[in-house]
Symmetry: D2
Subunit: 339 residues, 4 copies
């Protein structure tokens, strides 16, 4: 199967990240086209990627016959027109949030896709793919904790740009907890209340920060969210599920913590080495592939490392017999030029 | 740049994992050849991968002109001959441990590669690529904790196969801590002592389990390792560094923990969303690429999800003004067939 | 100085606990009088305590010339009259919450004590004496985290008696967080909102459980409290302070956790053995005193334990010289009848 | 029952702590006699305690008819003579470690007590009374983790006095792990090995620090102990039990952690408020007693605090009915002079 040819529209911070991701870590896809309203940025990026072109008009990029699918990382106000173009050309599109900047326009996009009868749009709510959120969802779906009742969420940023205003806390930060709530509870949110405590002395002038949001869902569940975007501390995103028979917390920096019906708290022990070191294996192979392709020396453990390990284990087996300390016998590395 | 064509030799549990990894998650490589002494297994696997062939003789696979690089996951006793073949053909090879099953043979492989003057062999000590071990190494190299003094390690498996004997605990389990010691301390191990406490009632008959290993390095540092391979609990691999000015532990199930000179303990807070959700972004894009390539519907957040989020945020901004609860206004999903 | 002669009024669960506490663990006080509306209960208790009498009427107990101070653990509706009697007789009184069951009556008690110009009443909000709350307060007062902004609280009980109704969640459970808020923020609460999510299937019929309370203080700080009294899990009381420059959490079952300005999280390391083992020393001495007073054999470490430790250390010092294992030399315990 | 009259011999750091403890926190005992080879120190201390005398000769103190029991906190070399005097006079004695400074002398003390046929001596191994060690012992005795196999211990001090030598690490620090091992495993230690890694640059000149001790017990269990007395970090004492079916760790700063057979890790949730706040109740009552006895104002929650709580709860109950925010109605504190 040939690689998917992706056009990445908008190559600011997030779009450039996606370009790098697809080139460096994603199997089965390549970046065929990049576009940005700053033409030079797109052209520089394209020049660095074999087989990649810059196209000046986002709609041309979408229409291009050598583009199979689109990643939309352009400013929100341009999304509506670009999404409709993707739908018109039948191109699958992964759209960074927001879908559009306007509720009515979002609804039009929904209607248009529904008329086509084919799911072409995915929105970039990436938390659904985070292993902690996915684990929490799986735990809820297992039924082990009984009926889900509440979520307590915290969403903290160390700082925000100077032009950040109070409504952006809702639209850009809270929007993730909105999706988390809908994802975890699998129902719509029916009312919302934003509470504004007296602001932190460290918050930009005029910004209501922190804020507390209270969400209520169709079945009467509630979610409270602390939004605090000028903590100066770090990026902290936390969700605690409170359910009929226990609770579970992610994002605590101390692993996932569950409290169950048995009067105990804790987490799960990794069952085996594939789970524990899966990331290490992936990284090992990817770096080795990268080094070999680029013709540079591989920089992982060497044959000497293998020899040294063998020599130590040999002495260990000898000590297993004797019980006492055993000297390790090895030639000196200097005696083998190039080793 | 064209994809690296990899031959995977030996497609048992570990080799098959590597085949899947390269096909599903590694960018820039594809599995061109598979080989196994069980011919049918290799042929079945090859049939499922576009452009992949099964080759019956591992040495033929290594010599094949359409193979750029080799992953060796064959039984240890065959490694020596296969590694020498890789060196002869100038093919980079990633070799699962052990390098060879015999210290003298390992040394011959080291010498042969050194004579070629080119680093072609990497040994599969994957822990060096684990983010916790890499973080511990970076912490040590930063000098913040002063001179490294000791390591306390634990290596626990829930169970082992029935043919596992006492020396395999050393050769197959301890070997990882041997490499971890050499990697972290960056010096050779000069003596080793294996202590055998009275065995666990749950250990297989005749197996010395648990064992305690004491390693001493060239500069006089010491490492103690608990090896316990029939715990019945899970896979637990832990390393605590004790240094002049503090200690740090990985593998505790509660995140990396450091104790520093300031009389406090703790860990690091994620600085931003790219660090926190990097894995989520990768997974999001990979799943989307896979769904689009295979022609199935994408299963991530939909346009409706984007619309719903917009509607809730809109009400939130309204509540930000009023301070009270605001009902969310949305059309019903049923009113849009296909949405 | 002679011991304080205390009258404990009401010897149900809580009052009986206080009686035992004063007799077994409190220095400088003894229970001189007990009283309960179930006369037999008080008489049985008095009979078991040297020098303790049962008095049938609580007002007589308060007035008794051989009573120096009063602990009030009687039902709430009787508090007003008993408190006023204590004030009249100038007796210090420790009153379990509530002060009275009625706001106006509470105010009358406040006025009466104020008129006397002497502080005689202490209310039993014991959390102020918990080392975690005290530590959190000290951290706030140190100014290190900047201006306090929010509290997130959870108050969970495994179950409640069948007659527990929705307003008791407020009066009996939330009341503690009300005091915690006033204690930590050192200002009055000016408004309150109780939110009632759809109840847990495990909650008693008709009970609004869980509830969410939102408190607002005079300076605009906010507190949210989850109240959930039929979790089936355990007793979980948690408070997270969110402040201008960091946050701190108590009650997480993983020690006190702070997040500070430095991008790190964690806690404090015990500075010395007196802090680490202070409780152990207290317990050691108290048990030894109890055993000696009662004439039973002391059950702590024996002279033999001291001898064995000395023998092992002696061998250890020998090994310190030799580096190798040293056998411990001891006579057999059986050779010394009675040892 | 009258209070136990205790003589505290040696009122340096530890002895003075014991004097304060008995006076301030221990029920049923009082310090009747103090003694120190620095006569003035004993006399000053005695003067501050009602009914307490200083006695110049420790043997006179032991023999004094108004002394019921003895706490020995004198230097180790004087213990033998003082212990034998306690035995001679039939006085129960709590002796700080070491029992004596000489194995043979310890054995003579054991024999002498055994001949008397009455247990009079308790040695001050206070860890047996620490709730974490006691909890670990109880867990072992429950049988839930199967046969105990190993202990991993760490014993770290921030610093030691300048005259501390390598054998004192064994005699003064390791001695605690010696007793912990004997207490937890309930059997004698039969061999010991001390390993001396290259010393920390931060250790005093000539001190072998850190050290690793390996203890072997009669049944073949093993214990490894890291001893590191110049860490500069804090006081860290940790013990991990490894047993047939799981492990448990105390002293991790993150609460007691168990790993069990179920593939999970964690700890216990407090079952109720008496367990969670027992210490708080004790402290509350002790402080109240102390304040009342000394005639100072009590400094705990006041009647005003009780009134404020009642007013807020009243508003809360109103909000429970209405669902919306309710203003709290209170008189101003200033309107009540003295409140």
């Amino acid at each position: 199967m040939s690689d998917l040819r992706v056009a990445v529209l908008g190559v600011g911070l997030m779009g450039a990240d996606h370009v790098h991701r697809i080139e460096a870590r994603i199997s089965g896809a390549r970046v065929a086209v990049v576009n940005d309203y700053v033409t030079e940025k797109a052209e520089q990026l394209a020049a660095a990627i074999p087989g990649c072109r810059a196209i000046g008009d986002p709609l041309d990029a979408i229409a291009d016959p050598d583009v199979d699918a689109v990643v939309l990382a352009t400013p929100g106000p341009t999304h509506e027109k670009q999404l409709l173009a993707c739908l018109e050309h039948g191109k699958p599109v992964l759209c960074e949030k927001p879908l559009t900047t306007d509720v009515e326009a979002s609804l039009q996009v929904v209607r248009r896709e529904a008329e086509l009868g084919k799911r072409l749009i995915q929105v970039g709510f990436m938390r659904r793919f985070d292993h902690e959120y996915a684990g929490l969802k799986a735990l809820m779906d297992s039924g082990e904790l009984g009926r889900p009742l509440l979520l307590h969420c915290a969403h903290r940023n160390p700082s925000v740009p100077h032009n950040f205003d109070s409504s952006m806390v809702v639209r850009d930060s809270l929007v993730h907890e909105v999706d988390v709530t809908r994802f975890l509870f699998d129902e719509e949110i029916t009312s919302i209340q934003i509470i504004t405590p007296s602001p932190s002395p460290g918050a930009p002038d005029g910004l209501a920060d922190p804020q507390i949001a209270i969400l209520r869902t169709a079945s009467g569940r509630h979610v409270d969210v602390e939004l605090f975007v000028s903590t100066g501390v770090g990026y902290e995103v936390r969700t605690e599920l409170v359910a009929e028979k226990g609770s579970a917390t992610i994002g605590l920096d101390v692993g996932m913590i569950r409290k169950g019906t048995s009067g105990s708290w804790g987490g799960t022990i990794t069952p085996g080495f594939r789970e524990r070191f899966g990331q290490a294996y992936d990284t090992e192979i990817q770096r080795w592939v990268d080094a070999v392709r680029s013709g540079t020396n591989v920089d992982g453990p060497t044959a000497w490392d293998g020899y040294a390990a063998a020599a130590v284990c040999e002495a260990g087996v000898e000590s297993l017999r004797s019980g006492g300390p055993v000297e390790v016998s090895m030639v000196s590395r200097e005696s083998i030029p190039g080793a």
